[in-house]
Amino acid sequence: MEFDLAFIWGLLIAIAVFAYVALDGFDLGVGILFPFVRSRDKRDAMISAIAPVWDGNETWLILGGGGLYAAFPLAYAVLMPALYAPLIAMLLGLIFRGVAFEFRFRSRRKKDLWDLGFCIGSLVAALAQGIALGAVVQGVAVEGRAYAGGWFDWLTPFTILTAVALVVGYALLGATWLIWKTREPLQAEMRRAAVPLAAALVAAIGAVSLWMILMDPDFADRWLSWPAIAWVWPVPLLVLAVGAAFLHAIRTRRELLPYLLALAWFLLSYIGLAISLYPFIVPPAITIRDAAAPDASLGFLLVGAGILLPIILAYTAYAYWVFRGKVTGGEHYH
């Protein structure tokens, strides 16, 4: 591991993607949970819990895409055509849910229709992101400086599994976010949903890990061979430990802790993926150094990122702080 500009940018983009998953994950999750909540008041409360922040959350996705284009143009140029169909589906899904936020308040008769759009859009975006993740992990065919695979390379049993895993994970983030942001009776409903969702997520994490080890001897090597196993074993163990803590947090009716623990699962899975893939940005062919833009580009943008990212984090935190506390939305619409 060498701390050059390419490494720093790899880390920054990884952080941006994680920030996106942590933040937009819960509001996509709220959309995924929408069909299971029937009452209009509860739905309004769900929307209220994410309305002021979703827009900023999605911006991290733009930073991830834009950052990839700037820092690793070759990876961007290979991955985007490789993930063509899931990415377009994700974009269309995000469009639907993004405008549904605004439109459902504008519309009197078609409110249910926009609720449906919000829900389907969230689900499609989450599935597409999960498929894209799986498609990158399973490897991308590259020839020269271009994608060389077929149109449907992204669709395999493995990518379907990762897609389901991500949907379950987002739903859990959504449920735990609502535990924090809403009151009874919606809060209790979410508490009841959280435990099976968490169990499903742990099962999915296990299944994806096992599949990866069986799929590729290189992955198996990184996890099971000596001496690697000596320092990677805390990852799966911590996944189980978080599970115990999660059950306890739900039982003792903690408010914020379940969301943070759900995030911990995401972080551990993310670290697990990093251990499996580093230093490849487009496995198995392109490393972060192969794909990196020249130092003149990386340095120029890093100056800005170094100054602006802390400011962005500060005012993102401020925006969340302004809208702290429980939402009371819903009663207004009687």
Binding site: D44, I47, A51, P52, D55, G56, T59, L61, I62, L63, G65, G66, Y69, A70, A71, F72, P73, L74, Y76, A77, L79, M80, P81, Y84, L87, I88, L91, L92, L94, I95, F96, G98, V99, F101, E102, F103, F105, R106, R145, A146, Y147, W151, A293, P294, A296, S297, F300, L301, G304, L308, I312, Y315, T316, A319, V322, F323, V327, G329, H332, Y333
Partner: protein, 473 residues
């Protein structure tokens, strides 16, 4: 096969970017207008400014939401459909896009929540600051995006590496490339004009129903000041931009003018049909020497014709020729509207000449049309190049086949028509509501419900308890 894919990818890009630009063109101006309204409210304490602020804030929220989602598509489309372009330009253009996201996008998205929902939570001063930040963010966004586009038109400050990528040599030269200042000013003014014409049209529409409506009067008055001052300036800036294009992209100018032969004292062709195969502009209605006068500021100046370039370097002629004329004609109509408003204002008749109000109403969409026509001129005029003189559009595309691009194009068309159609209907419905003072309960209730940016608790409270003039903190 590949050619079909390139053509479809171009149609897809044109379609998605044309839909996208409509919203920034409106929200850049509207954000500044909102900042001015809130500032006026804080300064004068007149309730009508707050009412206007609220009225346009709701419309802004819908338009901004559509701008954001259609903008995300653009970030990814470079890669999905134009991967060779992405690989080769990433080191130069990527950081500019990165700065756009870091500065503008986050500024807008971060403060938008406070602007929309936070009046009660943060107090007036901070809320005003948030509004200003959103407005500043929209202009900053235009700065970076136009730097990128201008670099594609007039690349500068770069070198080429062994992988075939363009790499930065001098960032200052990359950003402030030759056409950038002209393009930026032209676009920001266009956005302000577009917004002014929409605001003016809405004001005029309500004045046609009730000429005493104070809020509608202010809308029309502010909008017409803007049109009277900015439209003539815009024509001047457009001329300067054109001269800049003549210097750096003379073939584009030849296409815009319909000039095939290089000649001294070139005419201005008012209308006609440039026919590339025939090598002449058919059915041309010409004004002798005017073309030379406009382009060279000299009665007998020499203007290059398309014959100076091989035909495979010509842009599609009729589209460039006609979109340019549509833009110019609309620009002059806007200036005429603005100057007429000055005359009527001087006569004290601005609010009650029905023909003028109708005219102002009809001009409502003209800004959007002019923006689309202008962008068509400059983008189609850049063809066959993706990066002028350096990378052909046909060589910039992704190795994706026509079926894939075509399917996604179809999906985009269906979703966009559905979504943005509905959005436009909602915006028009909001504009149709009369901006009357919130003196009675029912109206306030109504505003609270339909202006529904207020799922959060904050705005619910002020929607309920907002009798005129009452402070909102």
């Amino acid at each position: 096969m590949l050619d079909d894919a390139v053509l479809l990818a171009r149609i897809q890009f044109a379609f998605t970017i044309a839909f996208h630009i409509i919203f920034p063109a409106f929200t850049i101006g509207l954000a500044s207008f909102l900042a001015v309204l809130e500032g006026l409210w804080l300064l004068t304490k007149r309730e009508v400014y707050l009412r206007l602020f609220r009225y346009w804030l709701v419309i802004f929220a819908v338009a901004f939401g559509m701008g954001v989602v259609s903008g995300i598509v653009m970030t990814y489309q470079f890669g999905t459909n134009w991967s060779v372009f992405s690989d080769r330009t990433g080191p130069v253009l990527g950081p500019l896009m990165g700065y756009e996201v870091l500065t503008a996008f986050f500024l807008e998205a971060g403060f938008l929540g406070v602007m929309l929902f936070g009046m009660n939570r943060v107090g007036k001063g901070l809320h005003f600051a948030a509004t200003c930040m959103v407005a500043f963010g929209t202009v900053l966004s235009a700065f970076w995006i136009l730097a990128v586009n201008s670099w594609m038109q007039t690349p500068a400050g770069y070198a080429t590496n062994e992988a075939g990528q363009f790499v930065p040599e001098d960032w200052w030269a990359v950003i402030f490339n030759p056409s950038f200042p002209y393009r930026l000013v032209h676009m920001v003014l266009a956005a302000y004009l577009t917004t002014a014409l929409v605001v003016g049209a809405v004001g005029a529409w309500h004045l046609l129903r009730d000429r005493a409506n104070e809020a509608a009067r202010i809308m029309l008055s502010m909008a017409m000041w803007m049109a009277a001052i900015v439209a003539p300036i815009q024509i001047l800036v457009g001329d300067l931009h054109g001269l800049n294009t003549l210097e750096h992209q003379p073939a584009k100018i030849a296409a815009m003018e319909g000039h095939f032969t290089t000649q001294a004292g070139a005419p201005f062709i008012v209308v006609g049909w440039p026919d590339a195969d025939a090598g002449e502009t058919k059915w041309a209605l010409e004004i002798p020497n005017l073309g030379a006068l406009i382009l060279t500021h000299d009665w007998n100046g020499t203007v290059q014709g398309l014959e100076d370039w091989p035909q495979d370097e010509w842009p599609p002629l009729p589209l460039v020729f006609w979109s340019f004329r549509v833009m110019v004609a609309l620009g002059f109509l806007m200036a005429a509207l603005g100057l007429t408003s000055l005359w009527l204002r001087w006569k004290g008749r601005l609010y009650d000449r029905r023909w003028f109000l109708r005219w102002a109403m009809l001009m409502g969409p003209s800004g959007f049309l002019a923006v689309l026509a202008g962008w068509t001129t400059t983008e189609v005029g850049r063809q066959p190049w993706a990066i002028y003189g350096l990378l052909r559009t046909a060589e910039a595309a992704s190795p994706v086949d026509a079926a894939g691009v075509g399917t996604s194009l179809l999906a985009f068309i269906i979703v966009y028509v559905l979504i943005f159609g509905a959005g436009t209907v909602y915006i028009l419905r909001l504009m149709g509501q009369t901006p009357t003072p919130g003196t009675e309960g029912p109206h306030v209730e109504e505003a609270g419900r339909t202006s529904g940016i207020m799922p959060g608790p904050a705005m619910q409270e002020d929607a309920r308890a907002a009798p005129p003039g009452r402070a909102l903190d």
